[in-house]
């Protein structure tokens, strides 16, 4: 009872409650990893993230992918393989995107690489579109168009033209969806893209439309 009367002890419940409250904000996803994975798997995943970090990949991206896998019920060797593969693609994307690219751009560049967009096209696209939000969406659309069979050069011109016409966010992503619908009914992929973004037509303000750097 005497010890309890000391001021330091009185503040113990305050400290405990505060710590408990702060924990869920950051600790819950990590807790999911620790609960569902064997300690040695966690250790190996840390190794993958550390190696990728040395190559300039934010470990946050790999941690997020690991949490996604665990949430979906993927564990053990399968999770490790997926993480290794993702880390490899991110390292390649870092080389393409340069040291200043943020995690989202890096992830989008990795997806575009996976879709088969040539590295020089990705590099040129990122140079022309330094705004991270635009380039992130644009790279996803580039990857989609590549998958749909649009030649890389035409795909890049199409996405740049769409950006020139002010298409952003969901409206930009809708370009690849519209091309997909046209291709599904037998239209030529390049013609479908041209029809959707009207490549070559000057934008309303009379600026030169294609393949020029934009100020973001």
């Amino acid at each position: 009872m005497t010890a309890w009367r000391r001021p330091a002890w009185r503040w113990l419940p305050v400290s405990i409650l505060t710590v408990l409250l702060l924990l869920p904000a950051d600790a819950r996803p990590q807790q999911r990893l620790d609960e569902r994975l064997a300690p040695e798997t966690v250790e190996r995943l840390r190794g993958i993230a550390a190696r990728a970090e040395r190559a300039g990949v934010p470990p946050e991206l790999l941690r997020r992918k690991a949490i996604e896998g665990v949430s979906k019920g993927v564990t053990g060797a399968r999770l490790e393989r997926a993480l290794e593969d993702y880390a490899r693609r991110l390292v390649a994307a870092r080389e393409l995107a340069g040291p200043d690219a943020g995690p989202d751009v890096l992830a989008a560049a990795a997806e575009a690489t996976e879709a088969g967009v040539p590295p020089d096209r990705i590099r040129a696209f990122l140079r022309a579109n330094p705004n991270p939000v635009r380039s992130t969406v644009g790279l996803r659309v580039l990857g989609d168009l590549q998958n749909l069979g649009v030649p890389p050069g035409e795909a890049a011109r199409g996405v740049n033209a769409a950006l020139d016409r002010g298409l952003r966010g969901e409206r930009l992503l809708a370009v690849s969806a519209a091309v997909r619908r046209r291709v599904a009914v037998g239209e030529d992929p390049s013609a479908a893209l041209r029809a959707e973004v009207d490549v070559g037509r000057a934008p309303a303000d009379g600026r030169r439309p294609l393949d020029r750097p934009r100020r973001n």
Binding site: L21, S71, V133, T136, G169, E170, L173
Partner: protein, 211 residues
């Protein structure tokens, strides 16, 4: 009880005793007796200087009463003056918890936080048809893939929906049916390989000033 107006007129001296009807004369005589008794009481006057003393007291009281400005200044002094306050640590803990909880909610801007005015975020409506489902949740890179954002089907027609505030950029997500089945959005504009044998749906959010 009301007095007969004729009796009242007699009391006021407007009519004479003889003018009263016979039926009221007994009552009038009783009033005369009562008034005589009152007149027989000794006279009581104000104490010498009493009025003056009362007025002085009133003036002194008015002068001593603080003006609104004085009251304000006094309130400010009370607030500014340090004073020991006795508060149970548990109450402090509860108050701290509330502040931290509010801070975390604001800072994280939880995408599931439908009531928050999400600054720099755009509300996106997610909809999926899942007839027969007991629950449908949303998980994505915006909530650490935690299927904690529950969609609702208020009219029980099998179409589940929910609104989530998202930051600008591309987001990957999936629906989780009945807590176990991960399902891509068939109405998404695009999908991507999730690396685990499934497809994540994509949603793109443009910056607020550009959408």
């Amino acid at each position: 009880m009301t007095m007969d107006p004729r009796l009242q007129a007699w009391l006021d001296g407007e009519v004479g005793f003889d003018d009263l009807p016979e039926s009221l004369r007994a009552e009038a005589s009783a009033w005369t007796g009562a008034l005589d008794e009152l007149r027989a009481l000794p006279a009581v006057g104000a104490a010498p200087g009493g009025t003056q003393r009362i007025m002085q007291a009133i003036r002194a009281d008015a002068a001593a009463r603080p003006s609104p400005f004085d009251r304000l200044a006094s309130g400010a002094r009370w607030l500014a003056r340090p004073r020991p306050i006795r508060v149970p640590p548990l109450a402090v803990a509860a108050a701290l918890a509330l502040v931290v909880w509010a801070g975390v909610r604001l800072a994280a801007g939880g995408p599931g936080d439908r009531g928050a005015a999400a600054e720099g975020r755009v509300y996106v409506q997610f909809v999926i048809a899942a007839p027969g489902a007991r629950s449908v949740a949303l998980a994505g890179d915006f909530n650490e893939w935690d299927p904690s954002i529950e969609l609702s089907d208020p009219d029980m027609d099998g179409v589940w929906s929910g609104r989530v505030a998202l930051e600008a950029g591309v987001h990957e997500y999936m629906f989780v049916i009945d807590g176990t089945e991960w399902r891509p959005d068939p109405n998404a504009l695009s999908w991507t390989d999730d690396g685990f044998g499934r497809r994540n749906s994509l949603v793109a959010v443009g910056p607020l000033d550009e959408t």
